[in-house]
């Protein structure tokens, strides 16, 4: 699971107010190289919640992203490459996503988050 997907996921438990971002519990991280695409990154920058991405990437052991970011930084090649790496190349292979309110864990196995709820959570 890429951090882009982590950035798009929220806790789906019924009645929870604080759903995002899900905390990450890391068991295994893998890195997979992806073609660099500036247009895609610029497009995604506006969809991504930066703080959640920066924190998630730190949890995954990548500390190069700045705390805050704004659109002017998209002119920097260095910034774009770091953003690219954090967003697309870091994969949570094994671990869990944790609901920020309830602490309920959504397991991630073989890179696939399991967001299925139990009957009493729907």
């Amino acid at each position: 699971m890429r951090l882009l997907t982590h950035n798009m996921l929220s806790s789906n438990i019924k009645g929870v107010a604080n759903r995002f971002p899900l905390k990450i519990e890391v068991v295994k991280v893998v890195e997979k190289e992806v073609d660099f695409n500036i247009d895609f990154l610029k497009n995604m920058f506006h969809k991504v919640e930066w703080k959640a991405l920066a924190e998630a990437s730190r949890t995954m052991g990548y500390t190069e992203l700045p705390e805050t970011a704004d659109a002017t930084m998209l002119d920097s090649d260095d910034f774009l490459h770091k953003f690219h790496h954090a967003l697309l190349e870091l994969h949570l292979e094994e671990g869990a996503l944790v609901c920020p309110e309830t602490g309920r864990k959504f397991p991630v196995n073989k890179g696939i988050p399991n967001m299925l709820l139990h009957e009493d959570e729907v």
């Binding site: 798009m8 806790s11 995002f20 073609d35 497009n43 995604m44 696939i112 967001m115 299925l116």
Partner: protein, 233 residues
């Protein structure tokens, strides 16, 4: 010539996962028929709800993948076996999608709202007893409840929430699902529609319908709301 769809011998399988069948082929053929438009559309985010064997999302990635910028593909399925089989199918074709094991789009609707440029759905459309809907395993691939609409009627609002302003939805329907009623309901949400492909097999008559947000529909809707308000006040 490069293949433009997933290759059947490379599609993985599992006893609890629906294998590519007439409906899957019809959906992929509809996407192929619209491929030129899809390429010109330059989608950033492409999504499939209910990816099953992975045949459709893999075909979409294969037919769009070789030219221009590669979009972000994401696919969901409620059946964990289907998710694993989709991963194997995609790996065998050298394409990649993010996969989430979830019910329809649960967990994604908040942050992915208004972002999906291309959404493909081959829903469980077979009319069945209501209690079969959402059963575990392969039954979830077809059991559609009354008129086959139980899951479709949950997917449509989810699709409306996820699609971007320029988003397109391609969906498989069966005559028993009452596709004209589905189109009318989507029209009331501001979508135009057209039948991309119609196919009758021995067992069923399928329509692949494409939906897109249409300013005329939305204008009409605004006027309608305006007049309704005016009449009520």
């Amino acid at each position: 010539m490069l293949s433009r769809t997933a290759k059947i011998p490379l599609v993985s399988s599992h006893p609890e996962v629906y294998e590519p069948c007439d409906d899957s082929f019809a959906l992929v053929d509809a996407l192929l028929a619209d491929r030129t438009n899809l390429l010109q559309h330059h989608p950033s985010i492409c999504m499939e709800i209910g990816c099953g064997s992975g045949y459709v999302i893999t075909s979409l990635a294969v037919m769009l993948g070789h030219e221009g910028s590669i979009p972000y593909y994401i696919a969901t399925d409620i059946n964990p076996h289907a998710i694993r089989v989709t991963r194997e199918t995609m790996d065998a074709h050298g394409v990649y999608a993010e996969l989430v094991n979830t019910d329809i789009t649960s967990g994604l609707e908040k942050r992915l709202a208004g972002s999906v440029d291309v959404l493909v759905v081959n829903p469980p459309y077979v009319p069945t007893p209501e209690e079969e809907v959402g059963c575990e395993g392969i039954v979830s691939a077809w059991a559609g409840g009354e008129n086959g609409r139980s899951v479709i009627d949950r997917i449509l609002p989810a699709a409306d929430n996820l699609l971007s302003d320029r988003g397109w939805l391609y969906m498989v329907t069966l005559t028993a699902n009452n596709p004209s009623e589905i189109c009318l309901e989507m029209r009331n949400k501001g979508y135009a529609s057209r039948i991309v492909l119609q196919r009758s097999t021995e067992e069923e008559s399928l329509h692949i319908i494409k939906f897109w947000r249409d300013s005329d529909c939305q204008l009409e809707l605004k006027n309608l709301n305006y007049w309704t308000k005016l009449v009520r006040s």
